[in-house]
Symmetry: C2
Subunit: 316 residues, 2 copies
């Protein structure tokens, strides 16, 4: 399988410059002295998550006439917002196909970004998006199963090594695997001795199991949807599994309580509002240090889109 | 009076490089299109506030033999933590004189950073610090009434214009005035047409009144301590008033309810945990737009050290 290379990631870095925020690494005073910790706060991106990088780069790579006809996606989460935001920047149409049970706040957020939101029954989402794409000449921008999307997310890896050239360990979320594929590819190309670990909820650890088996090991929707980490309820694709097999050093799984404590820790000690998915890496650092190498550690905080009421419940 | 100049601020930028985080400007999608907004999140500094800049620079500027004897301060808030953090970096003694009524969490935070904490009755704080300084040869690092501290805080102004060279409006907190003095000095030296506004609680607006009168207009401790913005319960000094008279375009005052809404807004829309003082500028942007010029606006978020329980109460 043709994997994303470092040159594509460097090209993506050029594309997204001035659109995605160049997030800093934030040193953490509460960290274990044997494992100094820096956070990479992607929760501070314009739409509150790293997704802006991959979505923008994928749209930027389209031929001008193709792009002018518009784009479509069927994510109601952070990727949907990222596509809407990026399309607005290019002054093109963005259609987001959303299950009719999606929270109003998410639909409103996408409309506020100028997207056309199409509500359909959950089961019809994917088909509806493909039909609309064909009918209207829109290009589908998938959330992770796409080389340009992976290359865009990989820019996070470039920035980590630019700011901390001797990083020993990088912790990164694995949901669909686009983020982990991009980041691990960038890190291994530039500094192979840096260890890159994926983190996922232990309720449905499909990345851990798929890497062990050497093929996709699916969990049911019911199993996947049991986690509080709503950005990680998806599973790997053949493309992302291939990247992770090539570049990931291991997977750490975290419990639901550890994820909740991660959200608390980030608010209390780092002044960051993180969504549960975004806090999984810090949960792995805090509770699974024994499974990780020592040394200078970077944890990606992938996103911050949590309901204020949920954050308020978790805080005290 | 001899005011801080741009060369001193540039020198400070060199000193603090690699210690203070180079915070990015964060574009805000919820902003008014006529007044696009960027946040400067100083809440992400190692000790959770901008104070690290001034404290570190002031300590860096001491003669080596003087510095080796150690430093002292009598702030129990963010400046105390900043002095402790900076002293640890220089491997020198830091003594923080703290009122014996200070919250244990703040005392613990300073001890965790290696500071020697001396508890005294509130009224004796300043005298005790001076006595200890004389006895032990420690250098007093004041929280704002000091040229090097002002120069350190001014580095925020340099960074704002480096990232957004055509900024039209900058909003900055005024407590003791060190931050506002430094930032306004840097901005006016480099781009005089950019407007710089101070923001303070309307409960005890000593900066507004002092600027109008041309001399220090004091409020009582009781009046000053009535605000939720605990970082702004102090008042200007002759030195900071002189800087603000030279460089500030105006002052906007905000109510306690507006400050609370600012904290909520930052958590909900920007994924930032801000302390009430840190949110005053966003409160001014959100509720006092009519008093401000239009155009590209930057709001400094000065700090994020809020009790999680207080944040939880404010959120929903």
């Amino acid at each position: 399988m043709d994997l994303v290379g470092i040159e594509q990631i460097k090209q993506a870095a050029g594309d997204i410059s001035g659109v995605a925020v160049r997030t800093p690494l934030l040193p953490q005073v509460w960290a274990d002295p044997d494992r100094p910790l820096w956070l990479k706060p992607e929760s501070l991106q314009p739409i509150g998550a790293f997704k802006i990088r991959g979505a923008y780069h994928a749209i930027a790579r389209l031929a001008v006439d193709v792009r002018a006809r518009g784009v479509i996606t069927h994510s109601s989460g952070n990727h949907g917002q990222a596509v809407a935001y990026s399309a607005r920047d290019f002054r093109i149409t963005a259609v987001v196909v959303v299950p009719d049970v999606a929270p109003k706040v998410k639909v409103d957020a996408m409309r506020r970004l100028g997207a056309e939101v199409v509500l359909v029954p959950t089961a019809e989402r994917s088909d509806a998006a493909e039909e609309l794409a064909a009918e209207r000449g829109l290009t589908l921008i998938p959330p992770f199963d796409h080389r340009d999307v992976i290359a865009g997310q990989g820019t996070i890896g470039l920035e980590i090594l630019a700011d901390l050239p001797d990083a020993d360990v990088v912790l990164v979320q694995v949901g669909g695997g686009g983020l982990a594929s991009g980041v691990s590819t960038a890190i291994k190309a530039l500094r192979p001795q840096t260890k890159v670990y994926g983190v996922e909820p232990d309720i449905a650890p499909d990345a851990r199991d798929s890497l062990a088996a050497g093929e996709l090991v699916p969990y049911t929707d019911e199993q996947r949807y049991a986690t509080i980490a709503d950005g990680m309820r998806t599973h790997l694709s053949e493309l992302t599994l291939a990247h992770l097999r090539a570049n990931l050093d291991g997977v750490v799984t975290v419990t639901e309580d550890e994820i909740r404590e991660g959200v608390r820790l980030l608010a209390r000690e780092a002044n960051l509002v993180a969504e549960p998915s975004g806090a999984t890496t810090v949960a792995a650092y805090r509770f699974h240090g024994a499974e990780l190498p020592a040394g200078r550690t970077v944890a990606v905080v992938s996103g911050g889109n949590i309901e204020p009421s949920q954050l308020a419940e978790l805080l005290p």
